[in-house]
């Protein structure tokens, strides 16, 4: 059970890292990183809880780290994407939507 959960987490972490390395521009890299980092972290944390027992310090810290990753990681990625889009980071040439003159709510 623990090995299976760790394998799932490692697979998603590896796919996220390879996605960040292989994707063509910043926005697709952010998409690859956010989805797979959160999805790769949670199975490993569940494996830690299952492997060490429920009423241990490991469980409380694992729950806290899972909460922090789920809340803060999308916020940070959103901030980076917003800042990069505002400053005109070039998109991949196959991108279909680019509206630099559109009024953005701030």
């Amino acid at each position: 059970m623990v090995g299976l959960l760790c394998a799932v987490g490692l697979f998603f972490s590896l796919s996220g890292a390879v996605g960040v390395w292989r994707m063509p521009d910043l926005y697709t890299r952010i998409q690859a990183s956010t989805k797979t980092i959160t999805l790769g972290a949670l199975p490993v944390l569940v494996a830690l809880v299952v492997g060490t027992g429920v009423l241990t310090p490991y469980t409380s810290r694992a729950v806290l780290v899972a909460f922090l990753l789920l809340v803060l990681n999308p916020a940070a990625s959103h901030a980076v994407a917003r800042a990069s889009y505002k400053t005109g980071t070039p998109q991949w040439k196959g991108a279909v939507a680019h509206e630099p003159d559109r009024e953005q709510p701030s």
């Binding site: 960040v20 803060l72 990069s84």
Partner: protein
């Protein structure tokens, strides 16, 4: 069981090597910030698993601080970019 934790802790850092490559190569600052954010998540997981391997609960607090404050680093880079201070 504990050996499995050590193996997974090393593997979590090993699978994050493309992130380090992207951090070194990355054409824009945003690429480096995204890779840094993802790599710090991997480092947090590795620390948690290593503390379970070594049976030292003090390492858990290091992982907790890493996960709560690496986010601030990414956010600071994003704010600097947005104000066009870079």
């Amino acid at each position: 069981m504990t050996t499995l934790f050590l193996v997974v802790a090393v593997a979590e850092v090993a699978v994050a090597l493309p992130l380090l490559l992207r951090m070194a190569v990355g054409p824009t600052v945003g690429d480096r910030a995204v890779a840094l954010n993802a790599f710090s998540a991997q480092a947090t997981l590795s620390l948690l698993l290593f503390s379970a391997f070594a049976s030292r609960t003090i390492y858990l607090d290091v992982a907790l601080w890493t996960s709560s404050f690496s986010y601030l680093g990414t956010l600071v880079w994003a704010r600097l970019l947005e104000r066009e201070l870079l």
